[in-house]
Amino acid sequence: MELEGKRALVTGAAQGLGHAVATLLLERGAHVMIADLNAEAADAAASRLGDRARAVACDVTRAADVQAAVAAAVEAFGGLDIVVNNAGIEIGKPLPEITDEEFAQLMGVNVTGVFYGIKYTVGELAKTRGCIVNMASVAGLDGVPLLGAYCASKAAVLRLTETASRELRDLGIRVNAVCPSFIDTEMVERLVAPFEAATGANFGDLTAQAQGRLGTPAEVAETVAFLVSADAGFITGAAYVLDNALTASVL
């Protein structure tokens, strides 16, 4: 199998995109540490996904938690080859309505979490010449009404990805980002009502017009699996867009 023997840490892996990524990496032969804020859900996912899956509770805004998740993966699997910094949250509100606490919390998870997911995994990844994939978004490329805080955080993820790719190049560590558009997850479901209330537009119509259909978590997982594979050996510092031509339009 393509990822036979590889050892991965995936944050936010108890549900949504992270769960799909963990599932596919396991299918391709990897060992996966499922890290999630929700310890119970992480445990349940690991039991469900089989022998090569393990779980650890992890709040990515806490350095000690991220360090502990890395240590847990190394203890369980003997090392670390792949890190997927996927944990993220959204806010669907106009900028003036976002509270200071909400903004700080989002930046904590989406930006500080990725920063820690680079900073505290480099030591292990340098030993294996491993790689990192950060979950960004097409919202990191352009603005989106109601998603101002989310957009800013994902743009930050792209800049972290680019900088890390150059700083870590000589250690043999590749760092890339994936930029999905609207995917069929609970996160996107939560955005439908606020979006329709604010714009009067039908979310399904907008999605159909802009990107044909909703993407699936499994499709995002395929792009992540490609970027961590041997075939992506010369790819680093890149943002791989996955949007069925949504951002091909400037309109």
Binding site: S165, T216, D231, F234, G237, A238, V241, N244
Partner: protein
């Protein structure tokens, strides 16, 4: 190999050497039937001058007629010379644009039409990271590649409802004849050692098979939600300002 392209019929232009040859070889290893087209074909390849619409149209029609389908088009044929813009004769500018931009347009047009009629397919246009910025001493090449990324996005939008995906691959410096044969000329223009330049911007030269791996991903079902993308494979060259 995992037979990711089993049963697929693919046309690769510029297949006689360099990136095109590496892509054709890897596609075959993944189970595809590959029609390798080139201005100067080798082996069982077929002749095609991508500057000539009748030849590109014929290449697509012949493929569909002989193999019953066309699933993947890789528009890889490309040329380059080394000359600053103020010294470049218009004929030289046009010679590069006619292969690198007109050729990709014709491949996208005719493969897109055939694939739309058949209900789907994947078109992969070989662009360059030169599409995203200036391209000292290769201004014609850079302009053509920027055009390739733009036409890729337009075609992706126009063909989405027909199930046809259109993506661009943007390599950095890859160790092909196109690059290796021009090291001296590039050094003269850049004023630095080519090897030092490469080591700084992208660590090392990429290898053709490293571009082929991305082409396999974009050709197959694993990338089924990817269209209109410009996918960089450059050792991180584009990611840093300095």
């Amino acid at each position: 190999m995992s037979e990711l392209l089993k049963g697929k019929v693919a046309v690769v232009t510029g297949a006689a050497k360099g990136l095109g040859a590496a892509i054709a070889e890897r596609f075959r290893a993944e189970g595809a039937t590959v029609i390798g087209a080139d201005l100067h074909p080798v082996g069982d390849g077929v002749a095609c001058d991508v500057r000539e619409e009748s030849q590109v149209e014929g290449l697509v029609a012949e493929t569909v007629s002989r193999h019953g389908r066309l699933d993947v088009m890789v528009a890889c044929a490309g040329v380059a010379t080394v000359k600053p813009i103020v010294q470049m004769p218009l004929e030289e500018w046009r010679a590069v644009l006619s292969v690198d931009l007109d050729g990709v347009f014709l491949c996208t047009k005719h493969a897109g039409a055939a694939m739309a009629a058949a209900g789907g397919g994947s078109i992969i246009n070989i662009a360059s990271i030169k599409a995203f910025g200036g391209s000292p001493a290769t201004g014609h090449y850079g302009a053509a590649k920027a055009g390739v990324v733009s036409l890729t996005k337009t075609a992706a939008m126009e063909l989405r409802s027909f199930g046809v995906r259109v993506n661009a691959i943007c390599p950095g410096w890859i160790g092909t004849d196109m690059v290796n044969d021009r090291k001296g000329e590039l050094e003269a223009v850049l004023g630095v050692s080519f090897d030092d330049y490469i080591a700084h911007v992208q660590g090392r030269l990429g290898e053709p098979h490293e571009v082929a791996g991305l082409a396999v991903f974009l050709a197959g079902e694993r990338s089924r939600f990817s269209s209109g993308g410009a996918y960089v494979v450059d050792g991180g060259a584009r990611a840093s300002l300095v």
